[in-house]
């Protein structure tokens, strides 16, 4: 592992292909080539040179671009497979996922489920793939950027003949008067924003070296982005809760430690109307039928004052009224409330009239609040109704007893006791939608259905995401990196005296067309010949041979 001393006197690390200072070819294999491989300036990639311990071996594995590309390709293919069938999170929750996939997609669905593709994007091996890409990003970049930086810093103006000769753009002008043309060349190059260095009558013009750092900067951006994605797993960084609020209801916002409350004043659903909305939409509305125009929850946000314990009625201070719409979340103190779902016309109130079955005469109305009904309804003049039992989502149980399926008043049923002056002990009546049962024989009175009131329920998502800063920062740095690396290119032009001849060589990391045009402009009227593109000359020769 000895360092290599070049004939120019510069000491290069072991494994260097081209001398950092003068560009002399140090690697025997490279000497046979007509053109140099200029990636990473022929600097020594550390990882290749050591291969001793297990740490070095792991390091070298991740340091390989080949491995990196393979990781990308495998991730790409896995992701593509993950889109063939909908992911578990997007299937309707009507039955267990295992059953759903088989039921909907047959044997293929079953296989898909068994192989774990139904939940691919949070499977351990997909995470490992992404993580490996992250590791590869860090190690690849570290392994390349440091030697590249050193090589670019150490480069001298005067270059070795072998280096110049093997550049893709290269030419020799014999019998040229360099002394006179040098200032002109310099001036012309500087006009093209080149940074020109001069040594012993040799020129090195260089520009946009910073574009070489673009790839590493965008990798830093990606790493910050991945760190942001990782932060989500730290408790408290990320909140994803669903909050259903009925119209008129006030509820605590989850995860705010009882600090914020919200009242749903009204839920609004608007549909495009062929007659009212812009006429140009007419045909589309006719074709598609109902096209939703707006989902909106008008809410009031409150802050609880003082220290109240859950269950206590908090003292609420109104903060603001807000219409939450799709694309317009309500945001406060790191939290956002989004309009995501709704339920229309949930039963809210039901009214009845106490009626004499025979005469049809009514003795007063009562209205039952279906979410929290009163037990006694006094209708006056000795008439009253008592609520004995209430089943918001009524069904008959296995034993024939009435029960409720949930606490949502989807199908309310009641057991009422009707007391009247002539029946002071009362008559019992079981009342459900479209049916009445009189369990203890024929009643004289009945509760006649009068009407219902409904209200809507808003489905909101409560979101807090403390990782966004890293995601945004990573995104910005990535964009800066790619733009810096891709929209600029690092160009160098060497104009050097070699035994009475002027040698011109040039290198760019991309856009050869551009640099050639630039050289043409610079060399015009200087008596120097335009250098050749050696790669093209080779190709032309091959084609000529073929023809």
């Amino acid at each position: 592992m000895k360092d290599v001393k070049c004939e120019c006197g510069h000491v290069n690390p072991h494994g260097t292909v081209l001398c950092e200072a003068c560009g002399k070819v140090l690697d025997e294999q490279e000497k046979d080539k007509n053109l140099l491989d200029m990636r990473y300036e022929g600097s020594a990639r550390r990882s290749i040179t050591y291969n001793k311990t297990i740490i070095d071996k792991i390091w070298n594995f991740f340091s390989s671009v080949k491995v990196g590309v393979w990781l990308i390709i495998v991730t790409l293919i896995a992701s593509a497979i993950g889109t063939i069938l909908p992911q578990e999170m997007y299937i309707p929750p009507v039955m267990p996922a295992e059953q759903y996939y088989q039921d909907q997609y047959g044997w293929f669905g079953k296989l898909y489920y068994q192989l774990g593709f139904h939940n691919l994007f949070s499977s351990w091996w997909y995470l490992v793939l992404i993580a490996s890409i992250g590791v590869s990003l860090v190690i690849c970049s570290l392994d390349r950027v440091i030697p590249l930086y050193k090589a670019l810093k150490a480069q001298r103006v005067t270059r070795h003949e072998g280096f110049l000769k093997r550049q893709r753009v290269f030419g020799i002008t014999k019998n040229a008067q360099t002394a006179a043309t040098l200032p002109l060349l310099k001036q012309k190059l500087e006009a093209k924003r080149y940074h020109v260095r001069e040594e012993n009558g040799d020129l090195l013009a260089e520009k946009n070296r910073f574009s070489r750092w673009g790839p590493y900067i965008n990798h830093i951006g990606l790493i910050i982005f991945l760190i942001g994605a990782m932060l989500r797993f730290i408790p408290g960084m990320y909140v994803d809760k669903v909050l259903w609020v009925r119209e008129g209801e006030t509820k605590v916002v989850p995860e705010t430690n009882g600090k914020y409350y919200i009242t749903n004043n009204k839920f609004i659903l608007q549909i495009y109307d062929k007659n009212k909305d812009d006429q140009v939409f007419g045909e589309a509305i006719e074709r598609a039928g109902n096209i939703p125009k707006n989902y909106q929850s008008n809410v009031t946000l409150y802050k609880a004052e003082g220290n109240t314990v859950a269950g206590e009625k908090p003292k609420l201070k109104k903060l603001k009224d807000f219409g939450i719409r799709v694309n317009e979340p309500l945001t406060f103190e790191g939290f956002s409330l989004y309009q995501v779902d709704y339920k229309l016309n949930e039963l809210n109130k039901m009214s009845f009239a106490l009626t004499d079955k025979a005469t049809g005469k009514s003795f007063g109305d009562l209205t039952v609040n279906l979410n929290n009904p009163d037990t006694k309804y006094n209708l006056g003049k000795g008439y009253s109704v008592e609520l004995l039992s209430y089943f918001p989502d009524f069904e008959f149980g296995k034993d024939g007893e009435p029960t409720t399926k949930s606490r949502i008043p989807n199908n309310p049923a009641f057991v009422f006791k009707m007391r009247t002056p002539d029946k002071p002990k009362g008559e019992t009546s079981f009342v459900a939608i479209k049916q009445t049962i009189e369990p203890f024989g024929n009643n004289k009175y009945k509760l006649k259905f009068r009407g219902i009131a409904t209200n809507n329920v808003s489905g909101l998502t409560v979101r807090k995401d403390n990782t966004l800063w890293a995601i945004i920062l990573g995104g910005i740095i990535f964009m800066i990196g790619v733009i810096q690396g891709m929209y600029w290119n690092h160009r160098r032009i060497w104009i050097q005296n070699k035994s009475g001849e002027v040698w011109v060589a040039a290198h760019t990391n991309k856009n050869w067309y551009g640099i050639k045009r630039e050289i043409e402009a610079v060399l015009a009227d200087t008596g120097l010949q335009m250098p050749y593109d050696q790669l093209q000359r080779q190709q032309n020769e091959i084609e000529k041979e073929e023809a």
Binding site: A80, T83, F281, A288, I291, R325, D465, M486, K510, N511
Partner: protein, 395 residues
């Protein structure tokens, strides 16, 4: 205003077609060019036609925007035409840098195909659903489309490279796959022809059928049904009886359209082969005789370099910002999101292979072609086949 805007699109379409022909002429009449690419008279006319077409399509875009009150990128027809326009715009930018008429000969037909394909979708101006009501619609969709347009130029350049470099004297894997690409393009044309023909004939037939949840449903075909729906019952008298009934899981109507388009493609391709008496790619070879392969390779690479950041910005970053606002999270593994990621990963791999593994020339050209196939898959298949949040009202 709406009809004027439609007319402008038609004009643009015709201008693009003419431009393609002139680009063809520009190649044929040029002889023995080497390094520099001078534009001759034919080429000049072609460029002027392209610019005129672009302006006309821009007029279509602006008028439609005014008429509907939102940027016309909200359904399949609008988005696809915009993609076509972005492709033309990207070509004009690359052309301004490299001044090679041949690129036009390969880019413009693709743009023409894209716009023709777009026109097969319902052209009504649709009102925006709540999720789309955001200025991010304009920013995200247009930037993504422009990025994809620039990347598509890389496909055109790659295609030129392959047509030129692949030896057509003997059949090989390479000639086969190149023909597959040609066939794919021709099949798109087949789809356009078949749909237009049945649309002109005003063909309709209705079915009652039973969907996968055993609910009765009704479906209307606009092409004769080769594949009928599950337990389908033909309602239209005298209409074509389906040859094959497919299970409820598969959308019989879409499958039918695919079969017809494929059939159209096979017929067109067969006719071409009969007339040309050689491979389609082989018959394109004379056009690319004088092209400098190194330049084409560089154009293909540079288009990716220019397009990749734009694509990242539009299809991933702006998309994430909007998703955070509209769907509560910046990333949710929706199929369209995943395919944008796949496209991005693919081009990232492309760049690494080129930069670090030295995949220049033919390998790079093949990658450019595959990249375009992925973009097209994301545009066509993901919208129409894999349902997700992004599914437009395409049928």
């Amino acid at each position: 205003m709406v009809s004027l805007s439609s007319n402008l699109l038609l004009i643009a379409f015709i201008l693009y077609l003419c431009a393609t022909l002139f680009f063809g002429g520009a190649i044929n009449s040029k002889k023995g060019q080497v390094e520099k690419t001078n534009i001759n008279k034919w080429g000049g006319i072609a460029v002027i036609l392209t610019v005129a077409g672009f302006i006309s399509q821009l007029g279509f875009f602006i008028l439609r925007w005014i008429a509907s009150g939102h940027a016309p990128v909200s359904n399949m027809f609008e988005f696809t035409t915009f993609f076509g326009m972005a492709l033309v715009g990207a070509f004009l930018i690359i052309f301004a840098i490299y001044r090679t008429a041949l690129l036009g000969l390969f880019t413009m037909p693709v743009a023409v195909l894209v716009i023709a394909y777009a026109s097969m979708f319902p052209r009504d101006i649709t009102p925006l659903i709540p999720a789309l009501k955001s200025y991010w619609l304009y920013i995200h969709v247009t930037t993504a489309a422009i990025g994809e347009g620039i990347l598509a130029v890389s496909f055109a350049a790659g295609l030129i490279y392959l047509v030129k470099m692949i030896d057509q004297n003997r059949a090989s894997k390479r000639t086969f796959w190149l023909e597959v690409v040609m066939f794919g393009l021709i099949t798109t044309l087949g789809f356009v022809f078949v749909s237009s023909a049945f649309s002109l004939a005003d063909y309709h037939e209705k079915f009652n059928w039973v969907d996968k949840n055993n609910n009765p449903a009704e479906v209307e075909y606009t092409m004769p049904a080769l594949t009928g729906p599950h337990k389908g019952e033909l309602l239209t008298k005298g209409a074509f009886e389906p040859i094959l009934e497919v299970p409820a899981l598969i959308n019989a109507k879409k499958l039918n359209t695919v079969i017809w388009s494929f059939g159209g493609g096979v017929v067109l391709y067969g006719l071409l082969r009969l007339i040309l008496r050689k491979r389609v790619a082989a018959s394109l070879k004379p056009f690319v005789k004088n092209i400098n392969t190194d330049l084409v390779d560089e154009i293909s690479y540079r288009s990716v370099l220019i397009g990749f950041p734009v694509f990242t910005l539009g299809a991933l970053i702006f998309a994430m910002i909007w998703a955070q606002v509209a769907w509560t999270r910046f990333w949710g593994w929706d199929p369209k999101e995943v395919w944008a990621l796949i496209t991005w990963l693919f081009y990232a791999a492309f760049l690494h292979l080129r930069l670090s593994k030295g995949w220049h020339g033919e390998k790079s050209a093949w990658l450019a072609v595959i990249g375009f196939v992925i973009i097209m898959f994301n545009l066509v298949a993901v919208n129409l086949v894999i349902a997700g949040l992004h599914s437009y009202a395409g049928s």
